[in-house]
């Protein structure tokens, strides 16, 4: 750690991991409800468990991004953070607001929560992933603005690098596109149309810039490859991301009542979306192969390479699988979507956060890398979680293919629930694999407390 103020990243990373655990636990609850429908009913109905599972994912990834920015920006800008106090204050506001929201989801029925939190003043609730009550949404905007002010001021007073500019662009975009969560037109087509401006333009647009910047930062640190080389890659990757991703939004506009030309725009541009992810994979391996130093943190290198591979598979390959409109006509809203969602989120945004945490956390704790045994434990966690996600994705893909066949393609199509009964075996397999993932996550957290061996002294 080169700057004292980078230390504010630590609580963000800890909170991120804590919420990650919550996300996985609710995932397991839901996975079990897939096979035993009335499990925990009426205390935690499926729709609530799902809401908590997805909202926790988004919130912990945001914690991770903020922590990453607070760690990375001072080092890139070569100056202390503009205001570490503001960063800590925002941490507590965000954490408390997030916790209260989850408690609200679990304690009262959603409609009651909506009434209690002023949804009749400005109706923003009830839409997938954007379920947060109005005060939480306003809180997110305030926290995001204070955060952006803080890091933008830091960059302005310090050295301006490509990595921090790309990161800033991504984070500003994140805040701006979140504003569409306040826009809720009564026309259902328009509602869905702009809903994607938050949801799609986050994960297939500005978040990719954040991912690219974080990966580039860690690769510079662990490989010692020239900054110019890494920055050139970063620029090409983000250019491709924006060229394909922005109009690629059209792959959500096939069947919601938008004009027919979206079937062409959406298919063509989103078919090209795997390219930036593929470039990211080549980038990561290329840089590690050209490394000019042997960084003692092997675990961070593994996470960085894993991010490249898994984001390409999850976002690129599994996205392409159902992105062409003639294919999507059959696959829309099936388990194929769930398969893609799991591997893409894990491969891209979970793994890049864990890469950053793996690199930065030892530094924040005063050493350049963890001890050998701790790293080995972390790498076991990497493989357990990654292999689990691969199998969860494969099982859901199998369930999806079977579901499409039974429900939408056969000569005597089954109803939705009848088709679900037929794919039950895959849901069981998915749930069992989910427990292996949890073991990996426990091992991951354990690796932070591993006392065996001697840690590498700070460089």
């Amino acid at each position: 750690m080169q700057y004292k103020s980078q230390a504010v990243a630590k609580p963000y990373f800890i909170a991120a991991i804590g919420l990650f655990v919550g996300q996985i636990l609710f995932g397991l609850i839901m996975g079990y409800q897939y096979v035993v429908g009335d499990f925990l009913f009426p205390a935690i109905p499926f729709n609530v468990a799902r809401m908590v599972h997805t909202n926790l994912l988004i919130v912990w990834i945001l914690f991770g991004f903020m922590g990453a920015a607070y760690y990375l920006i001072p080092e890139e800008a070569e100056t202390e953070l503009f205001s570490p106090k503001l960063a800590l204050l925002m941490f507590w506001i965000f954490l408390v607001a997030g916790a209260l929201t989850i408690v609200g989801y679990l304690a009262v029925p959603y409609a009651t929560l909506a009434k209690m939190t002023g949804n009749d003043i400005l109706a923003t609730m009830g839409r997938e992933f954007l379920e947060q009550p109005l005060p939480t949404k306003v809180g997110i905007v305030i926290v995001a603005l204070a955060f952006l002010f803080n890091i933008s001021m830091t960059v302005l007073k310090g050295r301006k690098t490509s990595i921090s500019l790309v990161l800033l662009l991504g984070l500003w975009g994140l805040a701006i596109f979140f504003l569409f969560s306040f826009y809720n037109p009564s026309n259902l087509v328009m509602d869905k149309y702009f809903w994607w401006w938050t949801v799609h333009l986050w994960v297939e647009g500005v978040w990719e810039l954040i991912l690219g910047a974080m990966l580039a930062f860690v690769l510079i640190k662990i490989t010692g490859v020239d900054r110019e080389v890494i920055e050139k890659w970063l620029y090409i990757i983000i250019a491709m991301t924006l060229i394909t991703g922005i109009i690629g939004t059209g792959h959500h506009y096939f069947w919601i009542g938008t004009p027919e030309y979206w079937q062409w725009f959406g298919s063509v541009f989103s078919a090209l979306e795997p390219i930036p992810f593929f470039m990211m994979t080549v980038f990561a391996f290329n840089m590690v192969n050209r490394r000019r130093r042997e960084h003692p943190n092997k675990a961070a290198t593994l996470w960085a390479l894993g991010t490249g591979v898994m984001s390409f598979l999850g976002a690129g390959v599994w996205g392409f699988l159902h992105t062409l409109s003639p294919v999507n006509f059959y696959t829309h809203g099936t388990q194929i979507t769930a398969a893609h969602g799991h591997m893409a989120f894990y491969g891209a945004y979970v793994m890049v956060n864990l890469t950053m945490i793996s690199y930065a956390m030892p530094m924040l704790r005063g050493r350049s890398a963890n001890s050998g045994p701790a790293q080995i434990m972390e790498m076991w966690a990497f493989w357990l979680m990654t292999v689990s996600i691969v199998f969860i994705t494969l099982f859901l893909t199998a369930a999806g293919i079977l579901q499409i066949w039974l429900q939408r393609m056969g000569t005597t199509p089954l109803g939705f629930m009848a088709a679900q009964d037929q794919v039950m075996l895959f849901y069981w397999l998915r749930e069992i694999t989910g427990f292996v993932f949890l073991i990996g996550l426990v091992l991951y957290i354990w690796s932070f407390f591993c006392k065996k061996g001697t840690a590498q002294a700070a460089a």
Binding site: K232, I236, I243, T244, Y261, W264, A271, L272, I275
Partner: protein
């Protein structure tokens, strides 16, 4: 024509200009290429509609624009040749001429768009017009981007930023501009002429 004995034609080990622009050009060609293939598939499914709608396009303005862009590309070739001899002023003037021709292209294209939009044609009129409008509008935006790139190169050239030894930037801009030209050379016969 490649002439190995000529001293004025050097053989490049790497593509001219910055390597990064070639990644970008490759990606652009791929995006347009996918669109061209999609056009071919869509046309094969509805030849009559495509042939009928095609009759209403203004082939004359399309042909003039083809000549305009080829001329513009030629001016860029002269600009690169000039800077290789260290003639910054002349290089900047040739680039200005190339940008000017780009402007002529845009004006002619705007008249064409105006005529189509006044006739009530939109992306939803039929599949042919969907392709015609999206391909030409995407290309239109690439012409604008190309002109911005050339303008940046021209300003640097005018300020003496390039020399006979160091002129990667000019070649980078020229490479992109030739791509914009190339796309039109494929687009024009494909959408306006072939039936």
């Amino acid at each position: 024509m490649i002439n190995n004995t000529s001293t004025s034609h050097e053989i490049h080990a790497t593509p001219p200009g910055d390597l990064a622009i070639w990644f970008f050009i490759f990606a652009e060609l791929l995006a347009f290429g996918v669109f061209f293939v999609a056009y071919a598939f869509a046309r094969a499914h509805n030849v009559a509609l495509f042939d009928e709608s095609q009759q209403h396009l203004n082939r004359t303005s399309g042909a003039i624009n083809t000549l305009v862009l080829i001329t513009s590309s030629y001016f860029m070739v002269r600009a690169v040749a000039a800077i290789k001899q260290g003639l910054s002023r002349e290089c900047a003037r040739w680039i200005a001429a190339a940008i000017g021709m780009g402007g002529v292209f845009l004006v002619i294209k705007l008249f064409e768009f105006h005529a189509k939009f006044s006739a009530g044609i939109s992306l939803s009129t039929n599949t042919f017009y969907m392709f015609y409008l999206s391909l030409t509008i995407f290309h239109f935006m690439h012409v604008i981007l190309g002109m911005v790139i050339l303008a940046a190169v021209m300003l640097k050239a005018r300020g003496g930023g390039y020399s006979a030894e160091n002129h990667t930037g000019v070649e980078t801009g020229a490479s992109y501009w030739h791509m914009v030209d190339l796309l039109w050379i494929i687009l024009f016969p494909l959408v306006y002429v072939i039936h």
